[in-house]
C-alpha cells in the first residue's frame, strides 16, 4: 500500500487533487481512498488530504501518519505546518517551488529520498491566470512516482476542469525536475 499526504490551502483544490489520484487508481483496476481534513473551512487556511493506494480493498478509514509521499501545493506552508512529519525513510517530496530553486537550499530532512520540484504557481498563472496549483502538482507527482498513469489523470483533469488544465498537467509533467537524493 502507498500512502500520500497532500498539503494545500483552502481554494487550491487540494481535496480534488487527492480524489483524482484515487480515481486514476480505480480506473486502472486498483483501489484507493482519500480522506480530507479541513480544520476550519475558509480560503487560505491549511488543508490536508490523505490518500491510500493499493491493489486490494483498503479497510482503514483513518488519517495517514507515515506517508510514502508528501505533496506540498504551496511552499509557504512549510512555515506553518511540519509537512515532513512521519515521512517514511526514502520517501517522496513533491514541492511547489520557485523557478531556479536548488535542492541544497531547501533545508530538507534526511527522510526525503526523492524530490520533485515544479513551479506550479508560475505554470498555473501563465495558463489559467490564477494560482491554483493542484493540476500542475499532479503532473509532478505522476512524473516522480509513477504510481498512476498520466493518461488516466489527464482524462479526469479534463473531465473536471477542461482542456486548459489537461494541457497544464502535461506541461507540468514535462517541466518537473526529479532529483534522487540517494
Amino acid at each position: 500500500m502507498k500512502e500520500i499526504r497532500l498539503h494545500g490551502r483552502g481554494g487550491m483544490g487540494t481535496v480534488k487533487a487527492a480524489e483524482i489520484i484515487v480515481t486514476a487508481k480505480v480506473l486502472e483496476g486498483g483501489y484507493g481512498n482519500s480522506i480530507p481534513f479541513f480544520g476550519f473551512e475558509r480560503q487560505g487556511a491549511p488543508v490536508s488530504s490523505f490518500v491510500r493506494l493499493d491493489e486490494r480493498p483498503i479497510r482503514p478509514k483513518t488519517q495517514v501518519y507515515t506517508p510514502d509521499c508528501v505533496i506540498v501545493l504551496d511552499g509557504t506552508l512549510r512555515k506553518a505546518v511540519d509537512v515532513f512529519e512521519g515521512l517514511k525513510d526514502g520517501g517522496w517530496l513533491i514541492l511547489n517551488s520557485e523557478p531556479g530553486s536548488r535542492v541544497e537550499d531547501l533545508d530538507l530532512p534526511r527522510s526525503v529520498g526523492t524530490v520533485v520540484l515544479v513551479d506550479a504557481t508560475g505554470l498555473a498563472l501563465r495558463r489559467l491566470g490564477k494560482p491554483i496549483t493542484n493540476t500542475a502538482m499532479l503532473g509532478a507527482f505522476v512524473k516522480g512516482t509513477g504510481w498512476v498513469e498520466l493518461s488516466d489523470v489527464a482524462s479526469k483533469v479534463e473531465e473536471f476542469w477542461g482542456r486548459e488544465n489537461a494541457d497544464l498537467l502535461g506541461e507540468a509533467f514535462e517541466a518537473a525536475q526529479v532529483i534522487r537524493l540517494r
Partner: protein, 399 residues
Amino acid sequence: MSTVAVMNGNYAAATAARLARPEVIAAYPITPQTPVVEYLTLFAAEGSLSSRMTEVESEHSAMSILSGASLAGARCYTATSSQGLALMYEPYFRASTLRLPIVMNIVNREMISPQSVWGGPQDSLTLRDAGWIQIYVEDNQEILDQTIQAFRIAEDPRVLLPINVCYDGFYLSHMTERVEVPEQAEIDAFLPPYEAKHQILDPRKPMAIDPLTSGYLVMEYRKKHMDSMAAALGVVEETDKAYAALTGRSWGGALDLYRMEDAEYAVVTLGSVTGACREMVDEKRAAGVRIGLVKVRCLRPFPKAAVAAALARVKGFGVIDRNVSFGWNTGIVYQEVRSALYESGRTLPSVPFVGGLGGEDITLGLVSKAFDEIVAAVDAGRTPQSAVWLWAPRKGVKA
C-alpha cells in the same frame, strides 16, 4: 450489471436515494450532510431525479413536510446531521409513532458544545429510543447498498417504520473510494413502488389521523410499534439476502462477524472504525492472539439474541464507542451489549472504550492499544468500572 465509480459517502447516499425514486425529498443543509442536498439538487437540475424537491427553512419543516407526504402515500427521503437532527426531534418522534416509512441518512456529527462540525454518532445514538430503525455502516459501498435496502425494509407491511442509515461525518461523508453502482432497472425490480395502505390522506376517502388518543389506545400503539421493531430484525436479514442475490454483496444483516469462529477475545464496533479494527484483528491474529470482531449494524432494533450468540464462546470483550452515555461513564453501545448478555445469563470481563469524539481519529495505533487492553483485562478477569479513554497524548492536556 453495475458500474464502477469513485465517490464520497455523501454522493453514495444521494446516488442511492436517486436509484430508489422517492416521490418527495425535503432537506435542509448542515455540515457534514450539506453535499447530499447539493448533489440531489444537481440531479434535479440535470433532470435525472424525478422526486419533488421541497425547499425548507429548517429540519423541523423538512420532517414535517415528509410526514404529510408519507401520509399521502409518497415514498420519502431526507438527510441531516447533529444540530439539525436535534431541531427535528419533535416531528422525528412523531414520524415513527405514526408509522411513516421515511428514509433518512444521518451523517453523524458530534453534538455541541463545544462547537464542532466533525464526526461522531452521538447525534443519532442519543435518539435511539425514538422508535426509528437505525443501521450504522462502515464504508461508502455500504452507505449506498444499505440506503437502497432501507426503503424496502421501512415499507415492508410487517415493519412500516422510518429508518436511519447512519454514517460517520468526514471519515465517510467526505472520504472518496471505489463504489459499485447497480443499474436503475435492477433497483426498480428490487424496490417496487410504495403503496400506503395503513393510513392515507385522501379527500376521496376521508380518514381521521392522529386525534387526541386515550392512554389505553396509546398503549396499544406502543405495543404494536414494539412488535414491528421485533419483526424488523427478520426483515433486515431477509432484505440483506435479497440484495445479495441481486448484487453479490451481503453485509451480514443486523450484525457482521469477522474471524469470530475460534475467537477467545472480541471487539465490538459501530461505524467507520470497523475497517481499522478488521486490519488490527488480522495483525493480532498473525501474532497469535485469537481475537475477532462483532460489528453492530442494526442498533435499533437491537439484535440481542445474535449478540449473545456471537459472544457465547469468548472469554471476554471490549466495545469501542465513539460516543458517551453520561451517567453510565461508558459509551452507549457498551451498555447495549452488556444488557444483551445479561439476558443470556453470562457475565464476562469487558472493557468499555471511549474514543474518536469530535472527529478525533481512532488510529491503528489506538486500536492496537485497545486490543492489548482487552486481552490484559480479560486474562485478569477485570472489568473497568468506567470508560478506558482512547486518545493520543497531547501537550497541555491531562489524560
